[in-house]
């Protein structure tokens, strides 16, 4: 089966600019997650969707981060405006229960 697809693979922006990441989960996976992985650390959950509804966004910095999964399939994660500390790899994962399957992420550098 095809894995979780993410784009772009890399993005470099200046602080205060905006950026968007896209994720296409594994076909049929109802649950989709966005994680942030800062260099040298484990992934940290940002938001979890079940179909097109938000299950948990308690760790999403809502003043600058937003995410949507309008049709219950693809998802986008947006940051506006970006800060230097947002430099990280943004990972998307999907699942039909367990385990979670991860994409290769988008590496964001904020300068």
């Amino acid at each position: 089966e095809a894995g979780v697809a993410q784009s772009p693979r890399y993005k470099i922006i200046e602080k205060r600019q905006s950026v968007a990441f896209w994720c296409n989960p594994i076909s049929g996976h109802a649950t989709l997650y966005w994680y942030q992985q800062i260099l040298g650390q484990g992934p940290k959950l940002l938001i979890q969707f079940q179909n097109n509804g938000v299950v948990d966004d308690s760790q999403l910095p809502k003043d600058r981060f937003s995410a949507e999964r309008l049709k219950g399939v693809d998802s986008t994660l947006k940051i506006q405006p970006a800060k230097l500390e947002d430099s990280a790899v943004y990972l998307c994962a999907s699942s039909l229960g367990t385990p979670l399957h991860f994409g290769n992420g988008t590496r964001l550098t904020v300068t």
């Binding site: 979780v4 650390q41 484990g42 992934p43 979890q48 079940q50 948990d56 367990t98 979670l100 994409g103």
Partner: protein, 113 residues
């Protein structure tokens, strides 16, 4: 707050030896545990998982052990190969939270010839 941690940040083993990577968790409500392997530039790759009603689970060359009494999880890799060199993460979750994983910081495994 609740956390998942690893005992050792780096582990160096010789090719052919067995590797053991340890992990501690603090949330007694966790009922699902999982190990991932992450290579440079890639996303975490599923290795093996275990539920809290089990103490041990085996896969191909890998075994996960769960000790709920001391809240400890370990990953054993038999006959470690150079291709096993990567960062290994343990993670825990609760089935009633939609299996949202809480990751530890990771252990870097280096396999030397």
């Amino acid at each position: 707050g609740e956390s998942v941690g690893l005992h050792l940040p780096t582990l160096s083993v010789q090719e052919g030896d067995n590797s053991i990577i340890n992990c501690a968790y603090s949330n007694s409500a966790s009922d699902y545990f999982i190990w991932y392997k992450q290579e440079s530039g890639k996303g975490p790759q599923f290795i093996i998982d275990i539920r809290s009603n089990m103490d041990k689970r085996q896969g191909q060359r890998v075994t996960v052990l769960l000790n709920k009494t001391v809240k400890h999880l370990s990953l054993q890799i038999a006959a470690t190969q150079p291709g096993d060199s990567a960062v290994y993460f343990c993670a825990e979750a609760r089935s009633n939270s939609g299996y949202a994983l809480n990751f530890g910081k990771g252990t870097s495994l280096l396999v030397t010839p």
